[in-house]
């Protein structure tokens, strides 16, 4: 069967779009590597983990505290936001009256639409002084986790909501026929059936937590150090770039591209992990 002209045209347009979309990601990666190369050649990748501190002007490039800061803030917020998001979606789907569920969804969507700088500003003037009363200075890992939790909550809540909605109604009817309780149905039937969607939501939320810059920059304190407690200031990789890019030149600038590369690496690992986890195990 030969394709009609319009089909051929459509196919090539679609191919073109796909190539363009893929090329953008590749181009960014290539650009990052090219910009980072001068310092990587001169300093070597190793020193980004072994130097005494991060003082690029003085030629010291240790990125480990930032890497750790990014990961800690991400893990903390994901640990809090994931159960909150998933269970709020469950509540919304299987327990709440329709009117409340609808209102609730609109609210969550609203939360998702607030720009991050607004969260950051709120965090800086409200949250940070509050935490500062418990343990000064207030700008800390815990403030970062709190802000990130609020910011990624809509992502996980909305995507869990969508994946719960996609569970085939026959499954629920079958569970009802078996005489399962409501919670039994959710735990034993709905969660396994929606697993892939929930994981996708988790990955999306992790991606957002890692990539968040502005709010984190404002509430975390940005001191380059490995935090000893929840109340210590941290700096994330993204904040590092945002803080120093405007004034960085030469090697300093290249070093910032290395921290961008590292972010890219984290995201890459996450995407691969998500693929491995969700691959072909939707209904097992």
């Amino acid at each position: 069967m030969s394709l009609s002209l319009s089909d051929t045209l459509l196919i090539w347009t679609l191919r073109g779009c796909a190539i363009l979309a893929g090329a953008i990601a590749l181009l960014i990666l290539i650009f990052l590597i090219l910009e980072a190369l001068p310092v990587l050649q001169q300093v070597g990748l190793f020193r980004f983990f072994t130097d005494a501190s991060w003082n690029p002007v003085e030629g010291l490039y240790n990125l480990t505290p930032m890497l750790l800061g990014s990961v800690l803030a991400m893990v903390g917020s994901v640990l809090v936001a994931t159960p909150l998001g998933i269970f709020s979606a469950v509540f919304c789907h299987y327990y709440a009256p329709a009117a409340i569920a609808n209102l609730y969804r609109r609210l969550i969507e609203l939360l998702a639409g607030i720009p991050s700088v607004v969260y950051g500003f709120w965090g800086l003037v409200v949250l940070v002084p509050l935490i500062g009363r418990i343990q000064p200075p207030g700008t800390s890992l815990s403030a970062g986790i709190a802000i990130l939790t609020i910011m990624i909550l809509p992502t996980i809540a909305l995507s869990s909501d969508a994946s719960l909605a996609k569970v085939p109604p026959e499954y629920l009817k079958g569970a009802a026929a078996l005489g399962l309780s409501r919670w039994g149905t959710i735990w034993g039937v709905v969660f396994p059936a929606a697993k892939s969607g929930l994981f996708t939501g988790l990955i999306l939320e992790i991606g957002r937590a890692i990539g968040e810059t502005m709010a984190i920059l404002m509430v975390c304190g940005n001191v380059v150090q490995i935090p000893q407690s929840l109340f210590d200031p941290i700096r994330t990789l993204t904040a590092n770039i945002a803080l120093e890019m405007a004034y960085a030149t030469a090697e300093h600038r290249a070093a910032l591209f290395v921290s961008g590369l590292m972010l890219m690496l984290i995201i890459l690992v996450l995407v691969v992990a998500a693929e491995v986890i969700s691959q072909g195990r939707i209904y097992d």
Partner: protein, 284 residues
């Protein structure tokens, strides 16, 4: 349409009239041949000067329809390098020229001071240079040691590479790696918000911004440095110790378009832009 046709030359004519009039007011800016000014002027360098230069450039373009002013950032060192290699017509440098750069011609267009700020409720009224150094290196950790409240000091520092940091560390003879900060900030606004939200914080920011905010009810106060009050007036008359000129630099004696732009940037016509950007205008 018809209306527009008559309006356009009229407004251009009016603008030219105003410009010529201002020329006759301040003979320093007179460049009689500038009616025929044409071409493109490339400015590169300091990210502190860039927004100011861009605004001045816009007004310059509005008055000379044949001129394009292209402003690119990249740091003061890029401004120096590009100007001396001829890659840019004018370099922007947010500091005084060093001795080895004296072959370049510098034209100050504004100046900028850095002052220490505290929260308004902090009873400490002044700090000696020695005390500031001790606070920033972590030798003094509590306000009690400075006859303040019994509260730990939150040290707010600038991110690596920022020129405000350079100015501050240069004046107090500190090395950035010796500074023990609890919060590291990016721009001046973030510093002001941080100190305004934390009664026990100490920070340093651009004087213009701080003076403006303090006058508009933000709970911060500016501390004198070596007994000189931190005001734009004192920066202007040169008595305030931590300040720097914002310079336009050229390789050779400026001519033609170059000269016209530099004269314009130093003239009375742009002093409102200088003030708007919270820099200190140079008294002429």
């Amino acid at each position: 349409m018809n209306k527009l046709r008559t309006l356009a030359p009229l407004s251009i004519g009016l603008a030219a009239c105003f410009w010529l009039q201002s020329c006759s007011n301040s003979p320093k800016t007179a460049t009689p041949s500038s009616d025929k000014l044409q071409g493109k002027l490339v400015l590169t360098g300091s990210s502190t000067v860039a927004p100011l230069a861009a605004e001045i450039g816009k007004r310059f373009e509005a008055e000379h329809s044949g001129v394009r002013v292209d402003v690119q950032t990249g740091g003061s060192s890029r401004g120096i390098a590009d100007a001396s290699q001829g890659l840019a017509d004018v370099g922007m440098v947010s500091r005084a020229l060093k001795d080895q750069e004296k072959d370049l011609q510098a034209f100050p267009i504004a100046s900028d001071g850095v002052s220490i700020i505290l929260h308004k409720d902090n009873p400490v009224q002044s700090l000696s240079d020695r005390q500031v150094v001790d606070i920033y290196t972590g030798k003094i950790k509590n306000w009690q040691e400075l006859k303040g409240k019994d509260a730990p000091i939150t040290v707010v520092n600038k991110a690596e590479g920022r020129s405000t940091l350079e100015l501050f560390t240069h004046y107090f003879k500190l090395k950035n790696s010796d500074i023990k900060a609890q919060v590291v900030i990016g721009d001046n606004q973030q510093g002001i918000k941080t100190v305004a939200g934390n009664p026990n914080a100490i920070g340093y920011v651009s004087i213009g911004t701080a003076e403006y905010d303090a006058a508009n009810g933000v709970p911060i106060k500016l501390l004198p440095v070596s007994g000189v009050a931190a005001t734009t007036a004192n920066v202007q008359n040169g008595s305030f110790p931590i300040s720097r000129p914002l310079n336009l630099v050229t390789k050779t004696r400026p001519q033609g378009l170059q000269k016209a732009f530099i004269d314009f940037a130093q003239s009375q016509q742009v002093q409102d832009i200088v003030k708007e950007q919270n820099f200190v205008s140079l008294s002429k």
